[in-house]
């Protein structure tokens, strides 16, 4: 038998000799009363106060129906109420409810803004302290490992290296190649106007090797591997795997954090080299098509236009960015609390923070190395 064959809730208002009598019938249940049928809504509005209520013909009453009536009655029993024995307990449960006993979430007050600002500043200080503590933990475990050579988590490092390095090569190559093509194409249009075609080698070489390569690869890696690290550590927190490790006396910093940090620090310079090389290849292809500059000429001009110091700067940046991305990712991963909201918030924060840190540190590098490796000054 399906729901539709149940008797529908109905309401009848009898204006008899001894006052108005409201007669209810049918099933007064959630599935039939929500949304409230317009007919019943209209009748409800017509009932005068002080009317008598008869529930004798009600075939079923659930707690939704009982609450609906209870609220219609203004949280007190009508003076005249005909209530069958079977429905009494249901109504009694609704009656036992205290009015508005649920705690209310405090609304937004004027001073809350100030408090929020203060909390924000505290949070920043908290993050900085926590980050320093994490770095300290890693240095301590690193020191411990220097004395205990057989404790190095080599398998974890190698597995992480494969995940963050080797598996990232295709996407790095694709993005690098396209950026190289685009840069070369746009520069070629300008340079041809001045007849300075050959300077494309300088622009591409210097721009990509020194600046664009490391930053581009970092942004990719932060989005790809940084978020994965945060999510992985976060889920391990949620499922208490990290607590299980601690209970076994295994340091989370040695087993989980250090391999990620070491692997990404080692992998990033190589990825930067790979990404920059492919970007330059893209630039060369585009220059060949646009300016008819041969590959031979390009490759011969490159070492003269870009001193080797730039390569060192680029690769150093790569390593430093890799170190920072892994540290930030692990920091936020270990902060996840066991609920889904916290996991998503920390993963987001991890990616945003690591990209921001990369760009900040890149600016520091630019200032610190302003007199190194630039051919014409």
């Amino acid at each position: 038998m399906t729901q539709s064959t149940r008797p529908l809730p109905a309401i009848r208002i009898d204006a008899g000799g001894d006052g108005t009598e409201v007669v209810l019938s049918g099933d007064w249940t959630l599935h039939l009363l929500c949304p409230l049928p317009p007919d019943i809504q209209r009748q409800f509005a017509l009932i005068p106060s002080g009317a008598g209520w008869s529930l004798a013909a009600v075939s079923r009453l659930d707690s939704f129906g009982a609450l609906l009536l209870w609220r219609r009655w203004g949280r007190q029993r009508p003076l005249r109420l005909e209530l069958p024995e079977a429905l009494a307990p249901v109504l009694a449960r609704a009656e036992a409810l205290p009015a508005d006993a649920l705690p209310v979430e405090p609304g937004y007050r004027f001073l809350d803004g100030t408090a929020q600002l203060g909390r924000g500043l505290h949070a920043v200080a908290h993050h900085v302290l926590g980050f320093v503590a994490l770095v300290g933990h890693i240095l301590i475990s690193f020191g411990g490992l220097l004395r205990n050579h057989d404790r190095w988590p080599l398998r974890e490092i190698s597995a992480n290296f494969y995940k963050v390095g080797v598996r990232a090569m295709p996407v790095t190559a694709l993005v690098g190649f396209l950026i190289g093509v685009v840069m070369s194409y746009l520069s070629a249009l300008q340079l041809r106007a001045f007849g300075a075609d050959t300077f494309i080698v300088n622009i591409l070489g210097l721009g990509i090797i020194r600046e664009l390569g490391p930053v581009l690869v970092s942004v990719l890696v932060a989005g790809r591997s940084g978020s994965a690290m945060t999510a992985q550590l976060g889920v391990m927190r949620v499922t208490e795997e990290i607590d299980a490790l601690t209970a076994m006396g295994i340091s989370r910093h040695v087993r989980l954090v250090l391999p990620k940090v070491v692997a990404l620090t080692l992998a990033m310079p190589l990825l930067t080299l790979w990404g920059s090389a492919v970007a330059i290849l893209g630039g060369m292809v585009s220059a060949k098509l646009q300016l008819d500059l041969s590959f031979d000429f390009f490759l011969n001009a490159l070492p003269r236009a870009v001193p080797a110091a730039n390569l060192v700067i680029g690769l150093t940046k790569g390593a430093v960015f890799g170190l920072l991305i892994a540290l930030v990712a692990c920091y936020f991963g270990l902060r996840v609390r066991p609920n889904t909201e916290s996991l998503s918030a920390n993963t987001t924060a991890s990616v945003v923070a690591s990209i921001t840190v990369v760009i900040l540190v890149d600016a520091v590098f630019a200032i610190a190395t302003r007199s190194v490796g630039l051919p014409y000054r």
């Binding site: 929500c34 949304p35 659930d62 707690s63 939704f64 609450l67 705690p103």
Partner: protein, 258 residues
């Protein structure tokens, strides 16, 4: 109302090459508390998940309220789903919601728009599972194991279900809490006239709650009937399960409580 809220007809389940169930026939009568028992890995929880449509059997049919689970229009299926509630083993509370929002969620989805009514309804459900109103704003992570189960039960009861499915309702609770939880379920069963299907390992729970027991072993229903009848069935599995010294003690305790 259909006299058999849940009917299984020739249900067979296969995981990979292994057959978990081979032709299970079971009709759960309305208003009963039916316990599914069986050894570890005998597919009790799998059967429960098939009843609510989380898994589909390889063969056979699951009928809920007299109709196949996946029949009719989208609306009809939704209406059918809203007639039963399920309590998951770990509670499965939405961890990003407060207790209040967890219980209010199915009601809001159903279409209850009146916030005042919604607050009263949630408060009523919380009172039904004996939760104090002041836990309403807590997050699931801040609750004890027993409270998580209570909130999950309140959420399962939110849409006034006619059928309640419980997956290991007392697993992970200490004896005191689990006795209280069993008493709670029994009083709700009596008050609301629900049909309850539960999966349990715990003989205390079984003896105190179940009006009928279905024994699942070797991929089929070995026996189905009141506990006293089941105890008299001659079978090596039933013998081991119900007649060991520990089981006897537990059943005696459960009967005492019942």
């Amino acid at each position: 109302m259909s006299s058999f809220p849940v009917e299984l007809q020739g249900v067979s389940t296969r995981f990979g090459k292994q057959w978990i169930h081979k032709g299970i026939d079971l009709a759960v009568p309305a208003g009963e508390v039916v316990a599914l028992v069986g050894g570890s890995g005998s597919g009790k929880t799998t059967l429960l998940r098939q009843m609510v449509g989380l898994l589909t059997p390889a063969e056979g049919e699951v009928r809920v309220f007299g109709e196949p689970l996946f029949s009719g229009s989208h609306q009809a299926q939704l209406a059918r789903r809203r007639r039963f509630g399920m309590l998951f083993q770990q509670g499965a509370l939405f961890s990003a919601f407060t207790v209040f929002d967890n219980i209010a969620f199915p009601l809001r989805e159903f279409g209850v728009r009146d916030e005042g009514l919604l607050r009263d309804l949630v408060l009523l459900k919380m009172a039904m599972v004996e939760l104090a109103p002041d836990v309403a704003l807590r997050m699931p992570a801040e609750l004890s194991g027993g409270m998580v189960k209570r909130v999950a039960l309140a959420r399962a009861l939110a849409l006034e279900p006619e059928l309640l499915l419980l997956d290991e309702p007392t697993a992970g609770l200490d004896p005191d809490l689990s006795a209280a939880f069993v008493a709670l379920i029994r009083s709700l069963h009596q008050a609301l006239g629900l049909t309850v299907i539960l999966v349990t390992h715990d003989l205390d729970t079984l003896a105190a709650l179940a009006t009928r027991v279905a024994v699942l072993a070797a991929g089929r229903i070995l026996a189905f009937g009141p506990l006293d009848e089941i105890m008299n069935v001659q079978d090596p599995f039933i013998d081991r399960f119900f007649h060991s010294a520990r089981s006897q003690a537990a059943l005696a305790r459960g009967h005492g409580a019942g």
